[in-house]
Amino acid sequence: MWQTIRRWFDPQEMRSVGRTPDYRFSLANERTFLAWLRTGLALIAGGLAAAQFLPPLPVRHLREAIAIALLLLGGAVAVRAVDHWSRTERAIRLGEELPASRFPAVLALAVGVGSLLLVAAVLVRAIGEW
């Protein structure tokens, strides 16, 4: 684990493996990382917005729970983004297969299920008031 974390931060170590690829590949890898980072930042902004702009919800602390879930999800996306960037860079330098990942599917499912739960909550409340 420490070895992995050291790889994220050590440019020398990364440049020591394999051969330097066409710089456009490295730049594309970096842009993919940045797109993931913005996804994480959007989740964090969403969590902070939920905490600050939602009215208190009928279920106690539900607002805070939504906010904290979004914030932690955003942090996880950022950490996973740098790990994936580092492993992809290695694979490009070594001419290996790019690392496969289930993370995008898991994230998409989590966001989808979360939205459905909120839709259900809104509907239940609307029917209850009606």
């Binding site: 994220w8 970096e30 842009r31 913005r38 905490a51 600050q52 942090g75 960037w85």
Partner: protein, 98 residues
């Protein structure tokens, strides 16, 4: 040799700028969340602003001049800063519940 007229580098610079802009929005929201809670809140807001300044200073070169080398420190450090904002935000939301 590459014949793309530096377009890839340009796109990467713009991607860095968008990311730093998103980071700025998150900083504003974090400060807004923090300042509601007394002196500790102001202190944590200061931490958020310092983190923003440090990240911006660190990434400025990549957002304006770009870089053609792989394995550079702005990448992991920006990710670390983002994870830090997530934890700080969760802490602030938890604190607001009491």
């Amino acid at each position: 040799m590459t014949g793309d007229g530096g377009l890839q580098a340009e796109r990467t610079r713009l991607a860095w700028r968008r990311t730093l802009l998103a980071l700025t929005v998150v900083t504003v929201l974090t400060v807004r969340q923090a300042v509601t809670g007394g002196p500790t809140g102001v202190l944590l807001a200061g931490v958020a602003v310092l983190g923003w300044g440090a990240t911006l200073a660190l990434c400025w070169g990549r957002a304006t001049r770009g870089a053609l080398r792989t394995g550079t420190r702005p990448v992991p450090l920006t990710a670390l800063a983002t994870a830090g904002y997530a934890l700080l935000g969760a802490l602030l939301v938890l604190r607001g519940m009491w």
